[in-house]
């Protein structure tokens, strides 16, 4: 196996009829890291995960997982991955324990190991009390946790999580984040898709933003934030000063009393305030904002949709 990336994709393409889900996607993930795949609805995140987890054939491009080629060695790939799809995929007529034991046996762990692993995971995911109830009676959050537990049965090297915390309450989400962090510190590589930027910011060492079937940005959360943006100053003025303020410093109005302006360092801020003072505008309130991933996301995804017009 090469010492390179544990997930490596080059030029992946996929169309469904007339819909181009992925146009040409390159992706590299280093062993033992978390890559957050972000993107609006329909960006192609699930398509990407399904291709990388051997469920879907790409129309073009190549990808290798742990050095195994996705096209020619899917069986090898399946041995080293775990998948929690966007839709929960456990058997509602079986109990939680039965689901876990069955999956363990299907990973050919052997009966005894499968039992032990199931007990371990039930414990770890707080499902001991519900273990012997049919999954059909579980709450959505419990089912989601079981789903994640099932994908860990084989202690996979690589875990694909497609919006793992959607539908979870804040406590369960937090617990899941902690579990993901534990997995990573134990050496698991994770590719995570999410709609929650806070989640990506907390968990992912690197973020790739998918939009319109392409990766439109890729980097650490910090790099991405820097890339879109500048820091912004928010200036609150009297309502009748708003037009004058914008004429003086540019920027855009957030409401009828507040203007947001990109700034670049302290000198820029000083100059800005001086110009306003010269214009006779009284600044009632002043705040500086670091860009958030939200800003990154909004900037990147709106830019490309405009570009597509």
């Amino acid at each position: 196996m090469s010492g390179g990336y544990i997930i490596e994709a080059n030029g992946l393409r996929k169309t469904f009829g007339s819909v181009t889900a992925l146009e040409s996607v390159d992706l590299q993930v280093e062993r033992g890291t978390v890559l957050g795949l972000l993107g609006p609805n329909g960006a192609g995140k699930t398509t990407m995960v399904r291709i990388l987890s051997t469920l879907l054939k790409a129309d073009g491009g190549r990808a290798a997982i742990a050095g195994y080629d996705l096209d020619t060695q899917p069986r090898q790939v399946r041995k080293v991955i775990g998948l929690t799809g966007q839709e929960t995929s456990v058997d509602p007529l079986l109990t939680g324990r039965e689901n876990l034991v069955m999956m363990g046996r299907l990973f050919h762990l052997g009966a005894a190991v499968a039992e032990r692993r199931a007990a371990e995971l039930l414990e770890r995911f707080g499902l001991v009390e519900a273990a012997d109830r049919q999954v059909g009676t579980y709450s959505g959050g419990m089912r989601r946790r079981l789903d994640l537990a099932v994908s860990l049965v084989s202690s996979p090297q690589i875990l694909f999580l497609d919006e793992p915390t959607t539908g979870l309450d804040p406590t369960s989400r937090m617990a899941l984040w902690e579990m993901i962090e534990d997995l990573v510190s134990a050496g698991t590589t994770i590719l995570l898709t999410t709609q929650y930027l806070e989640e990506a910011d907390r968990l992912a060492g690197r973020i790739a933003v998918l939009n319109g079937g392409r990766i439109v940005a890729d980097g650490t959360p910090y790099e991405l934030k820097r890339q879109v943006g500048e820091e912004r100053a928010e200036l609150t003025v009297r309502a009748d000063d708003l037009t004058r303020t914008m004429a003086t410093v540019g920027g855009e109005s957030i409401d009828e009393r507040t203007v947001s302006v990109a700034v670049n360092g302290p000198d820029d801020v000083r100059g800005l305030l001086n110009r306003l003072a010269d214009a006779g505008v009284e600044v009632v309130r002043f705040a500086l904002h670091q860009p958030t991933l939200d800003d990154v996301f909004r900037t990147l995804t709106s830019k490309t949709t405009e570009g597509a017009k």
Partner: protein, 265 residues
């Protein structure tokens, strides 16, 4: 590093067999946890038999054996096809609720999911058949088959039962939804009515009679009936085999292949 699960690599055959056993166990658990399915599998054939025996039995002249002796072979076949919708729906359900996606992402024999459903369907059918025969004996069915004929009946029915289970599985696979799966499989329930199951074809109008005589269920029914009553089964045995061996082989091969293929959508 991730804890290495140092399991000995099982041989490919062991994988296939083990996975089939595991998923058969799963499907059998489904049977015991699905009350509707049990009712469908066991109660309906019983009601049918009683109805034909006591409601119509006096009015129908078969021109030979008593009506219960005549109709029991038909009810046996109906009790098999009655299981089809449950099987097709179970398969469609698996596809719909995403568990199949998970199975396909695992290093297992994909076709095992289908085999599991087939095994459960076969078991349900066998129990229904035994139930029908047992009840038949209580209400006046008097077989004259010897041990050889009983074995032959069992063999033909087993072939038929397995083939029907695969057809139902394939219907579930191609239907594209739970409702549609149930709908298609219902065809399988009704076609056997237009056979020699309930009345001798000689009494039917010509067009219907031609259909009845040449459709695949009739030779199975005729074979079963002849063997049970100790009559010569004649060509119907070969006709039954000529229909159902290819049906079994083709549906099985197609279903497994279709299922194992990585999807394009």
């Amino acid at each position: 590093m991730t804890q290495a699960t140092a399991v000995k690599e099982p041989s490919p055959l062991a994988v296939v067999v083990g996975d089939c056993v595991e998923l058969s166990r799963r499907s059998l658990r489904h049977v015991t946890r699905n009350v509707d399915e049990i009712i469908q599998a066991f109660v309906v054939p019983v009601v049918l038999l009683l109805m034909f025996r006591f409601l119509f039995g006096g009015a129908i002249n078969t021109g030979g054996p008593s009506y219960v002796d005549y109709v029991i072979a038909g009810v046996i076949v109906l009790s098999v096809t009655f299981n089809s919708p449950a099987t097709a729906v179970a398969v469609a359900n698996d596809l719909q609720n995403g568990i199949v996606e998970r199975f396909k992402s695992m290093p297992m024999f994909g076709g095992a999911v289908l085999v599991g459903h087939v095994v459960a369907a076969v078991l349900r059918s066998l129990i229904a058949v035994v139930l029908v025969i047992g009840l038949g004996l209580v209400v006046g069915f008097r077989p004259t088959a010897g041990p050889v004929e009983w074995l032959a009946v069992l063999a033909v029915l087993l072939l038929f039962i397995v083939a029907v289970a695969w057809v139902a599985t394939l219907l579930g696979l191609v239907s594209g939804g739970v409702e549609a799966a149930g709908g298609y499989a219902t065809i399988l329930v009704f076609v056997p009515y237009a056979s020699s199951a309930l009345v001798p074809p000689e009494t039917m109008p010509t067009a219907l009679r031609l259909f009845v005589e040449y459709q695949p269920f009739t030779p199975v029914i005729d074979t079963t009936r002849a063997l049970l009553l100790g009559h010569p089964a004649g060509a119907s045995v070969w006709l039954a085999l000529a229909w159902w061996v290819p049906i079994l082989v083709l549906t099985m091969a197609y279903a497994v292949r279709r299922f194992d293929r990585r999807t394009n959508a």
